[in-house]
Subunit: 157 residues, 2 copies
């Protein structure tokens, strides 16, 4: 179970996590907190479904959103940074993408950007997922947890 692995790894490192979710809209945070004892490592999150809330709640550059729309790698990176900073966590996860069934801002369903921000910087993973709306959201949640888990397997910085 990805979520349990992440919670265990964070506990071992004495670190915390926060999220800023768009297409998953709370699924990542809900998965993490499904693990008993997760309150020791989960700070919370921002569900930034409306585009303007990505700026207002998570601090994503408004000009970036205006120019490129909400589904862009740099938006995911800034969401991760915003989650980390505004929720006071060691790690921040940011997710933006198109769950479907319709395209958004000219981007096809299944396109998902996942940002991870940590003590030594931030980066973005871009996925092209198949399946319907429900499957895209679930696969995105799993991918975000896997991304963080893989980073937590590295030595403590």
């Amino acid at each position: 179970m990805s979520a349990a692995d992440v919670v265990e790894a964070l506990k071992g490192r004495g670190e915390t996590v926060a999220t800023a979710e768009s297409l998953t809209a709370g699924l990542v945070t809900a998965a993490l907190t499904d693990v008993p004892g997760s309150s020791a490592v989960v700070r919370g999150g921002l569900v930034v479904y409306a585009t303007d809330l990505k700026h207002a709640l998570a601090g994503v550059d408004a000009a970036l959103l205006a120019q490129h729309g909400a589904v862009h790698p740099e938006v995911a990176r800034q969401l991760a940074e915003g989650a980390r900073e505004r929720c006071g966590a060691t790690w921040g996860l940011g997710l933006t993408g198109v769950a479907g069934p319709d395209p958004q801002d000219g981007v096809a369903p299944g396109t998902v950007h996942i940002g991870l921000s940590g003590p030594s910087g931030s980066f973005v993973s871009t996925l092209t997922l198949g399946g319907d709306r429900d499957e895209v959201r679930k696969s995105s949640t799993t991918a975000a947890l896997d991304l963080l888990r893989d980073h937590l397997e590295l030595p403590v910085e």
Copy 2:
């Protein structure tokens, strides 16, 4: 389906919703956005798992949290108001409670307070739910959606 009913009712009224979730940690927002087309009515939400984030992100009175802990009807009411105000929505839902398996702040698992804030005021529903951690979180999510749906069946104010 509660979530689909809520989305449909909000669309019919031209209104929006936002959340501030503690024990459910994103489940309510995730359920609402599981409905295709929900972006027209779901603004977003605040996942305030850590007690200090209930103040920092949702504006819950810090003295109230210090005096009564996080699981209190007035906390749920203020979470609902904070969600509505900070996310710019017509309606705000706020959830706080104990999912278990352990008590929190001296409160037994299954105790859940759900706040609803709308154009004409706010109120709180308190539940005592049975079941394990997963069941308490799922029942709380359903109860929150039902609470809002019941209010949306009233005439437009």
